[in-house]
């Protein structure tokens, strides 16, 4: 387009035209670019697209990440996060604004590695590597501990010191490996396999002192995770000095934050066992002394029971004695009574005796030779011999005359 006035070479754009030109230039020159910056004003639209700004100390760049591109991001985008974005510059004509259309985004620093880590972690998770079902219990007391670490590192020093002080009953076998750098991961994995082949340790501690995320990276590698997962010997992962959780931590049967903490597990086990043993000893002794005490009581009771028949025998004896004594007394008494009664009877008998009557002057005549007592004269004949008994002495005479009494009664009446 040309004008008559002024500069015939003057070129005047319409807004659309210039915007179109800018768009072409920018989009041609800033296709496939990496941009590093800090996220700010991050928001997720209802459409699912991400809108945010990338900024540094002096500039700001609008950015958009559409739903198709952002759905596979493994980390959370937040304001303040330092990121590296890959994408292209796009000019949005209706607003006259340019913006970065982000196709990929990574956190700065750990970036791709972290991303890979997250991916690996997800895969292993799906394979069940972190499942508590696969966690093996530590032995009651690990008397022989295998340690996978650098023999010159801080980790081994810390572990040995604590074990020496707290659990000197524990033997240590070290498999020295590099704990950072290219070959570290495979060395660590081999060492774990070696201990499993060697068999003579009760537990394996996989350890390294503190360091940056990059320093600890070997413990995030798949070979290490697989070796730990496949270990038949229980494992303790003790990597780093802060809470940087590695894959090794997640797969191991037990995970602690520091090498010292791994050694303390063993010391604690030892101390707990000693206390438990003391408890058993105490219980054993108290049970037995209780039992003995109980049996002692039984004995006393039994002794009582044994003594009792003897007592009863004595009792019976005493009773017998008493009865015998009483019997004697009774007999005597009875005898006395009988004696008395007999005495009075004798007196009575004496009183009734005809001899007593004779002594008062009466006499008694008997017809001889029969000796029958003559009560009636009618039974006499002349010449019968008669014996007459007097109070003292007797005489024999013959009947001179019989005088019969006609009355019924005796002659005395």
């Amino acid at each position: 387009m040309q004008t008559k006035k002024n500069n015939s070479s003057r070129h005047i754009y319409t807004v659309s035209e210039i915007t179109q030109d800018i768009k072409l230039i920018l989009e041609a020159n800033f296709n496939d670019v990496w941009v590093e910056g800090e996220v700010s004003n991050f928001r997720v639209a209802t459409s699912g697209h991400f809108y945010f700004s990338l900024k540094d100390q002096t500039a700001i760049l609008a950015a958009a990440m559409f739903r198709g591109a952002n759905k596979d991001i493994k980390f959370k985008i937040e304001d303040g996060l330092k990121v590296i974005c890959f994408g292209k510059i796009d000019v949005y004509s209706p607003r006259g604004q340019y913006q970065l259309i982000v196709e990929r985004i990574e956190p700065k620093g750990i970036g791709a590695q972290q991303l890979a880590f997250e991916q690996l972690k997800n895969r292993l998770f799906k394979e069940g590597f972190f499942d508590p079902v696969h966690k093996k219990p530590l032995p009651l007391m690990p008397f022989r501990v295998g340690i996978v670490t650098s023999s010159a590192g801080a980790a081994i020093r810390d572990i040995l010191q604590i074990l020496k002080k707290g659990a000197p009953c524990v033997d240590v076998v070290i498999r020295s490996v590099r704990v950072q750098g290219e070959s570290a991961a495979s060395e660590i994995a081999w060492a774990i396999e070696d201990f499993n082949a060697f068999k003579q340790v009760d537990v394996i501690i996989i350890s390294r002192g503190g360091g940056s995320v990059e320093d600890l990276w070997s413990f995030n590698e798949e070979v290490v995770a697989r070796a730990i997962y496949n270990s038949r010997i229980p494992t303790i992962s003790a990597v780093g000095h802060q809470i940087n959780i590695t894959l090794s931590d997640l797969v191991a049967d037990v995970f602690v934050e520091t090498p010292s903490a791994a050694a303390k597990i063993i010391v604690d086990k030892k101390n707990a066992l000693l206390a438990e043993l003391d408890g058993y000893r105490y219980r054993l002794t108290s049970f037995v002394s209780e039992t003995i005490h109980g049996w002692g009581n039984n004995l006393v009771a039994l002794k009582h029971m044994l003594k009792s028949p003897q007592d009863r025998l004595l009792e019976k004896q005493q009773l017998c004695d008493e009865i015998r004594e009483r019997l004697g007394q009774n007999m005597q008494h009875y005898l006395n009574i009988i004696k008395e009664r007999a005495g009075s009877l004798i007196e009575k008998l004496e009183a009734l005796s005809p001899l007593a009557v004779l002594s008062r002057g009466y006499s008694l005549s008997m017809l001889l030779p029969e000796g029958t007592i003559i009560k009636d004269a009618v039974n006499l004949k002349l010449g019968d011999k008669v014996k007459t008994v007097l109070g003292k002495g007797s005489f024999i005479g013959s009947v001179e005359e019989v005088i019969k009494d006609k009355s019924k009664g005796g002659s005395l009446r």
Binding site: R144, P168, R175, K199, R281, L284, T285
Partner: protein, 80 residues
């Protein structure tokens, strides 16, 4: 390993003895026998835990064969 095995067996046996004794179902003779065995087990287990003769060794592997070398941790101690 053999140590560990017998240690765990001993602890289990000891726990069983304590249980049996506490049940109060044993005769005096049995109780005393179990007590004696239990105390012996507790003492030998405690002795194992209190032992102070530790070894620190390096596991070496050469041509697929393992060997143990003494590990000198004297220099490590000084660092601390």
């Amino acid at each position: 390993m053999k140590e560990k095995q017998s240690f765990e067996d001993d602890i289990k046996r000891l726990q069983k003895i304590v249980e049996e004794l506490s049940s109060g179902k044993l005769t005096l003779g049995e109780s005393l026998k179990k007590y004696e065995e239990g105390i012996k087990l507790a003492q030998s287990c405690s002795a194992m835990l209190s032992e102070a003769q530790r070894k620190v060794e390096l596991l070496m592997k050469k041509d697929g064969r393992f060997s143990l070398e003494k590990f000198d941790d004297a220099n490590l101690k000084e660092e601390a």
